[in-house]
Symmetry: C2
Amino acid sequence: AAHGARKMEDYGRFLALLASALLVGFASVVLSLVWVFQYRGGLSWDGSEKEFNWHPILMVMGFVFIQGIAVIVYRLPWTWKCSKLLMKFIHAGLNTIALILAIVATVSAFDFHNASNIPNMYSLHSWIGLTVVILYCLQLFSGVAVFLLPFAPVRLRAALMPIHVYSGLTMFAAVIATALIGITEKIIFALSAFSYQKSPPEGIFVNCLGVLLVIFGSLILWMASRPHWKRPPEENAKILSPIGATPESTEAESTMTNSGNADKSDPRSNTEAARKENIKFDEAGQRSTM
Amino acid sequence: AAHGARKMEDYGRFLALLASALLVGFASVVLSLVWVFQYRGGLSWDGSEKEFNWHPILMVMGFVFIQGIAVIVYRLPWTWKCSKLLMKFIHAGLNTIALILAIVATVSAFDFHNASNIPNMYSLHSWIGLTVVILYCLQLFSGVAVFLLPFAPVRLRAALMPIHVYSGLTMFAAVIATALIGITEKIIFALSAFSYQKSPPEGIFVNCLGVLLVIFGSLILWMASRPHWKRPPEENAKILSPIGATPESTEAESTMTNSGNADKSDPRSNTEAARKENIKFDEAGQRSTM
């Protein structure tokens, strides 16, 4: 009973952090919209500064907020009854949306530069930002090829998993760092250094946007790195399946229970043993990261 | 034998990453010095821009490079034969040096602003930067009070450890993000936005410094988050101590071996049992993080 109460308390803490992250992330998107519409003349797609204005909005919405949700989507407790395969599709789908928005945002910056005869790729923001977009692309393709499609051998999955998790979290942090550089660059270009130094309302406003992005990133990274909030392993899938149901060949149904060694002494077929080993490796790959 | 070979290969990989991190970190310090002496007129302490020039140098040297070493110092394999207490002193000492350099660097920026009638605390860089300096201070004091001094109960240590590790890594990342904002701000103030956009040598040069900082941070965070590179637990301390040596009361000697349960059935005194529990909790605290 005490154990159950502690579990509920922990669940409540997760929900509180999730609600905070969603609130802060949503507020960041709103602030980026207010910045553009209140202070920067709104949106269009005509090579003007209004086309550039898509850049901060789509980056905050896609590359920060949606990527942040993608990072923690496996940890939402109510998804643990869904199959791992479905969750992989959702994880890959959210990251694909984030990537598309980031690419459109990048194009809007290049387009604006070209139309206004401003050089491209001169700034630290552009160097780090474009590198992250390219690496994010590679991460998405390698992730789909190795973890989502059924062809990769178990050992490759186990070997890639720690790198996949590390790259994902590091790129998420790098995107936020790049956004902070971008906000600073844009506010100085828009107001001049001298005006920014006098703390005008727009200066304070974009600083607040930057602070919200840092808080959002910190919340997501905390939630993503607590081992006890991981989706439970698939171990007991067969036992808890309805009688007569056949387990999937590459993806085991997950459950919300966690009584690890219940079927240790079961006699099992060769394919069952292989499935177990598969799970063990998958686990190894995941446990060896965060 | 195969196991031993794998261990050596893993050790070699750690050393290669460590060498890369030291090289990149050292190169960052050199680049910050070259920036200041080649392009920005050198150093002094007179309220001029030359006083401000201490800011990037001390931040890169102290808050990035030395903090980075402090983050991974427990993981250097040749320190595993040193007592945990000694390593805690070294960890706290390196962080204290980093903090002092960061504070002097902060003072140099305020001093320069005040002497030149430039407002303070108007920028996103200053908001995030000062917040991190204050939080870093709190982290150092709470770390010394709870983990270094012998007064804190074991349960408090176990509860604080995941937060301590998370805050440490997050602040390290935030310091690098803040440095990137600072580099961008300074180069635009120094050259004007228009000149920076034409990719002059100084612009390219500081972008390279920023890229090096990102690579240094990524290497340190990778090394700090591999579970198999953790300092091994203290479990076997007593067995492997020379005959007649008494184990320390709060700190157990560590060893490089790892055969966890060798002395499970030993009869033991009450204080010995307490020491074991202490270790178990300490472990729990550490394992529950990265």
